[in-house]
C-alpha cells in the first residue's frame, strides 16, 4: 500500500507544475558494446532487418574520452535505423548502434544467468516474424524462448544476440488504438 501511495504521489508530482523544473531527457540511441561486429551486423541487419546508416571507424578522440578508453584503442561504430513508419504512421523510436572496441578488445561482461540484474533487454516488433525466425536459425542464434503463438494473433519469442543481449521479438496485429490512430 505504501508503495502504491508512493507511486501515486510520484505520478501526481510529475503532473504538477513542478514538472517544469525537471530536466527533459530523451533517449535517441541505444548502444551495444559488441565483441564481433560482423556477427552482430548479421544479427541486426540481416536477420532483424534494421537498416545500416553508418558503418565507420570512430576518428573523433573526444569519444574515446567519453568512453573512458585509451586513444591507442580503435573503435568502430555501426548505426542501425528502425523503420520510420508503422503501418503508414510516422513514429519516433530509438536508434541502435553497435560499437566495437579493439586493439586490445574489451573484456567480456559476466552474465551469471539467463536473466540478471544490470542487463538491458530490447523489445522489437517486426512485420515478418517467419523470415526473422528463418534467418536467426540460419545464423545460429540462440533462442531463449521458442516462438509462441497466442490465439489473438501475437507471435512472440526471446532470442539472444551474439553477445548474449536478450531480445524480445514479436509480430502482432495492430491494436484498436493503433487502428484508430490511422483514421
Amino acid at each position: 500500500m505504501k508503495t502504491i501511495l508512493a507511486s501515486l504521489v510520484l505520478a501526481l508530482g510529475l503532473a504538477s507544475p513542478l514538472q517544469a523544473q525537471n530536466p527533459e531527457t530523451i533517449l535517441p540511441r541505444n548502444l551495444l558494446l559488441v565483441s564481433d561486429l560482423e556477427a552482430s551486423k548479421k544479427f541486426y541487419a540481416y536477420a532483424l532487418g534494421l537498416e545500416i546508416t553508418r558503418d565507420a571507424p570512430i576518428a573523433d578522440k573526444i569519444t574515446f574520452k567519453h568512453l573512458g578508453i585509451a586513444e591507442t584503442h580503435t573503435a568502430h561504430i555501426v548505426v542501425l535505423r528502425p523503420s520510420p513508419t508503422l503501418n503508414g504512421l510516422p513514429r519516433e523510436s530509438a536508434m541502435l548502434a553497435l560499437l566495437q572496441v579493439s586493439n586490445p578488445p574489451l573484456p567480456k561482461i559476466q552474465r551469471p544467468a539467463n536473466l540478471a540484474v544490470g542487463e538491458v533487454a530490447l523489445a522489437l516488433r517486426t512485420n515478418d516474424i517467419e523470415t526473422v525466425i528463418k534467418r536467426l536459425k540460419e545464423i545460429g542464434a540462440t533462442f531463449a524462448v521458442e516462438p509462441v503463438r497466442t490465439p489473438d494473433g501475437l507471435i512472440e519469442m526471446a532470442v539472444l544476440d551474439p553477445d548474449g543481449v536478450r531480445m524480445q521479438i514479436n509480430q502482432r496485429p495492430d491494436s484498436e488504438r493503433e487502428k484508430a490512430a490511422r483514421k
Partner: protein
C-alpha cells in the same frame, strides 16, 4: 498504480512495438525483407524504487505504469519461473525538448523476486565491457541532471565535459544497476537520424 493500466493494457504494452509496417522495397534493393523496430529497452533492476527515482527525478522521465505481473505468458517470455514475483514499470521520456515534440522509445524497469536475480558484473577493474548496453540520452538541462545525479549519489564516470567548440556538454553516469548512460546537451538540431559521432 495507474488505473488505466490494467493487465490487458500492460500485456499490450509489453508486446508493444512502435513501428512495423514494411515500406515498399524496390526490386533492386537488397534484403532485408523484414522491417523491425526497437520499441523499448527493459532494464533488469535490483531495486525498482531506486530506479524509478533515478529515471524520473534524475532524468525527467514520466512514470506510465507500475504493476505486478501475474500473466504466465509474460513470465514465460521473460524466462522466469511462475513462482517468481515480477514487478514491471514503464517510463516515457519527455515530450518536449527545446520546443519540439520528441518521444523516444520507452524504458521498462523489471524487478524479479523470490528469489532475487543474480547481478551481472564487469571484470575487475573494467568500466567498459563487451556485452553491455549503454544509453545515449539528450537533455535540455545538463546542469540540473548533474546536480540530481550527485544528489542521488549516482556513480559519475565522466564529469560534465565540453566539446572543443564548447557547444556540447557530455556527462557519463551509471544508473543504480551499473547501466552506462551518456547524457548530452547540445544546441537544437535534428537528432533522430544523426550518427553518434561526427568525423572530423
Amino acid at each position: 498504480m495507474k488505473k488505466d493500466h490494467d493487465l490487458k493494457g500492460l500485456m499490450a504494452l509489453l508486446a508493444m512495438g512502435l513501428c512495423l509496417s514494411s515500406p515498399v522495397l524496390s526490386q533492386d534493393s537488397p534484403a532485408p525483407a523484414t522491417v523491425s523496430v526497437m520499441s523499448r529497452m527493459t532494464m533488469v533492476v535490483a531495486d525498482i524504487e531506486a530506479s524509478k527515482r533515478f529515471y524520473t527525478y534524475g532524468l525527467g522521465y514520466e512514470l506510465l505504469g507500475d504493476n505486478v505481473i501475474t500473466n504466465p505468458v509474460v513470465k514465460t517470455q521473460m524466462g522466469v519461473a511462475q513462482d517468481r514475483t515480477v514487478r514491471f514499470a514503464i517510463l516515457r521520456s519527455s515530450h518536449m525538448i527545446e520546443g519540439k515534440k520528441r518521444e523516444g522509445a520507452q524504458l521498462g524497469l523489471i524487478q524479479v523476486g523470490n528469489p532475487a536475480l543474480p547481478v551481472m558484473t564487469r571484470p575487475a577493474g573494467a568500466d567498459l565491457a563487451s556485452g553491455e548496453t549503454m544509453m545515449a540520452m539528450r537533455t535540455t538541462n545538463i546542469d540540473l541532471v548533474y546536480a540530481r545525479m550527485k544528489e542521488l549519489k549516482a556513480r559519475i564516470l565522466l564529469e560534465p565535459m565540453k566539446s572543443p567548440d564548447g557547444k556540447e556538454t557530455e556527462l557519463v553516469v551509471h544508473d543504480p544497476d551499473g547501466v552506462r548512460i551518456h547524457v548530452v546537451q547540445r544546441p537544437d538540431r535534428e537528432v533522430a537520424d544523426r550518427p553518434v559521432e561526427q568525423p572530423k
